[in-house]
């Protein structure tokens, strides 16, 4: 009940931001140079057909009327039709969204895989050689562009030894998994760098705390203390950071999907820009904004589950 009313409250807060973001996107799209009708029909279109299309698309109306129509359609989940694919944008988005979601799940997996153990040991052995090595490594991976890691991994594991597909993620479940490994690693490395530093600092804060000392006085093994008392507590802020990073991963997926030829919404956006397919661009940007808001809300809820002291309010 409590949770439900909290979500409701937050959604109500989100709505005005979303509306303003919508207005912003709408006018941004109108600023794109070139005539969308011309783009749709091509150079050889007659003036009559152009005018017809313009009035069909509402382009001859005032901006205010145009926005009104746009917003009305939006509420009815009508995002217009893609110029390039000649398909409803909503269907396209639905089609591609799953790929991106899976890419992010894979990235989350690898980022945790690469960060928990290094972050923990770095913190436990603060200022020892291990700590310096992991800190340097995380600085290094912060400085490494994802698209380049992706290309290097592709060269090594797809071109040279053929373990993974060079492009795309096939059609079957197994092919999907195989196709998500390298993109996940690519994205995971950069995120892991941030997580390692955060987890390290949290472990340092926690490891000499009273409750860890008390747990020691109970005779628990280092492993039990490490898992239940140090990691359990140190991971709370890290998990929050990670879920905030999902929004950044959405941006990252634009590049990663392009590098690995994954048919997700990021690649859709880039292709939309290339083709000046502005209904698609508009739709993807709106979807991104919506996703970011949902992720932020989810982050707060997850946080309250991980840390019983936090009350949602």
């Amino acid at each position: 009940m409590d949770l439900l009313s909290y979500i409701l409250k937050r959604v109500l807060q989100i709505i005005p931001v979303f509306i303003i973001a919508t207005i912003l996107i709408f006018f941004l799209m109108r600023l794109i140079p070139g005539d969308p009708a011309l783009v749709m029909l091509g150079e050889k279109a007659t003036p009559e057909s152009l005018a017809l299309l313009r009035s069909k698309m509402g382009l001859d109306q005032s901006y205010f009327t145009q926005f009104y129509l746009f917003f009305k359609n939006l509420i009815c989940f009508d995002l217009g039709t893609s110029i390039k694919y000649k398909e409803p944008v909503l269907l396209l988005l639905g089609d591609k969204l799953m790929t991106t979601v899976w890419l992010i799940i894979s990235s989350l997996f690898f980022s945790l895989l690469f960060s928990i153990i290094p972050g923990y040991y770095s913190g436990i052995h603060k200022d020892k050689p291990v700590d310096y090595i992991f800190r340097l490594l995380s600085l290094l991976s912060l400085a490494t562009p994802a698209f380049w890691i992706g290309l290097v991994l592709l060269t090594l594991f797809s071109v040279q030894v053929n373990w993974f597909p060079v492009s795309g993620w096939g059609n079957t479940f197994e092919e999907h998994i195989l196709g998500l490994i390298l993109p996940g690693i690519t994205q995971g490395i950069g995120v892991a760098a941030v997580l390692i530093r955060n987890l390290r600092n949290n472990v340092i804060d926690v490891k000499d705390s009273d409750y860890v000392n008390y747990a020691r006085s109970k005779g628990l093994s280092n492993f039990q203390i490490g898992i239940h008392h140090i990691l359990r507590n140190a991971l709370i802020p890290t998990t929050t950071l990670l879920s905030m990073r999902i929004a950044t991963m959405l941006s990252g997926s634009i590049v990663v999907e392009t590098v690995f030829g994954l048919p997700g919404i990021g690649a859709l956006l880039v292709n939309g820009i290339y083709a000046r397919d502005y209904p698609v661009v508009q739709g993807v940007v709106l979807l991104f904004v919506l996703l970011v808001m949902v992720i932020n809300l989810a982050t707060d809820i997850i946080y309250s589950f991980l840390d019983p002291r936090v009350k949602l309010s």
Partner: protein
């Protein structure tokens, strides 16, 4: 004299150093004392004198920069300092349990009390149902109402008085024979302090444990301890049974502690916070060659500057580390103060 069998813990000539910023801090400089079975032994002294360090050294729960340089710590027949980390873990919690000052920081904030009690029962062969029964029983014994419900709560959901009880319950769940309580009442307000003192006295009988009590508060000592050691700058400067110490202090520092107490009889039983004696602890990195108390002592003479006094047995069971203890003869300390 007491035989070894009566003694549960015997610390002998314990020395410990911290290294920090290239300096060596002599935090403990030859601590010797023993605790008898079933007794409550108190440690008093002002902040920074090494009370907590002593208690942590017993279970070797020390910071990385601490080093025990000398001494033995016998728990029954075993020298804890010779045990491997693994064997020591069998002592921790199950033979010697600890209670910390502030339950809000000493208990894991994100684990339920149940989970933290169950951790103590990890090596028993009990099913989780049986563990639950044990846990509820302990919660009842330490006076936590509605234990079935409260087991599932987190420490922050407990009220002030219940928090310390929860920690006591968790520690007792390990069934220790010796309880080390490091300022268990300092963080509490007066009425709750009172309840916890009563509870600890009750627990001592009920569970048959011995207690090593660390405190600032002479009032708590009076109400709980059978014997007391007074610490100063990493030394024990005086040790006696509580009555003797209170009625006939023989170290000027002990005397100073008592003089600093409020004198009104009605105030006397409660809130006996120590008022600091003029001057400060000597620096642990640069202890004087003679008596550590020399700079603050009214009795001091040249001998005190040159030579560290030894622990002398003044009367059976009453020890003091002072060259001129006899000058305090006839001084009747706290008992006199309160009565006169």
């Amino acid at each position: 004299m007491n035989t070894a069998k009566d003694t549960i813990l015997k610390v002998d000539n314990l020395k410990l150093q911290f290294s920090s910023n290239g300096q060596t801090l002599n935090a403990l400089n030859g601590i010797s004392f023993s605790i008898r079975r079933g007794e409550t032994f108190g440690f008093v002294g002002e902040s920074g004198c090494g009370k907590s360090t002593t208690s942590r050294a017993i279970l070797r729960l020390l910071a990385d920069n601490a080093k025990i340089t000398d001494g033995t710590i016998y728990y029954n027949e075993t020298d804890l300092l010779k045990l491997s980390e693994k064997d020591l873990r069998k002592i921790r919690g199950k033979e010697i349990g600890m209670i910390f000052q502030d339950p809000m920081t000493a208990l894991n904030p994100v684990l339920t009390i149940r989970k933290q009690i169950f951790e103590q029962l990890r090596d028993t062969k009990l099913s989780s149902k049986e563990k639950e029964i044990v846990a509820i029983e302990i919660m009842n014994k330490v006076g936590i109402p509605l234990p079935e419900k409260r087991l599932n709560e987190y420490i922050f959901q407990y009220s002030g008085g219940m928090r310390q009880r929860a920690m006591i319950a968790i520690t007792l769940a390990g069934n220790p024979k010796l309880l080390i309580a490091d300022e268990p009442t300092t963080a509490l307000d007066v009425t709750i302090q009172d309840q916890i003192i009563k509870l600890l006295n009750h627990v001592k009988e009920d569970f048959g444990v011995s207690i090593l009590l660390i405190t600032h508060d002479l009032g708590v000592v009076g109400r709980m301890c059978d014997r007391v050691a007074v610490m100063y700058a990493g030394y024990i400067v005086e040790m006696a049974d509580t009555y003797t110490l209170f009625s006939a202090p023989r170290h000027p520092y002990t005397k100073g502690l008592m003089d600093a107490l409020p004198k009104l009889p009605q105030e006397q039983t409660r809130n006996e916070e120590m008022k600091p004696i003029p001057g400060a602890l000597p620096s642990l990195s640069d202890l004087p060659q003679g008596c550590p108390f020399v700079s603050r002592c009214q009795l001091h003479q040249t001998l005190c500057q040159d030579q560290l006094p030894t622990m002398q047995e003044i009367s059976p069971g009453h020890f003091a580390r002072c060259h001129y203890f006899h000058k305090l003869e006839g001084c009747t300390g706290l008992i006199n103060c309160t009565k006169g």
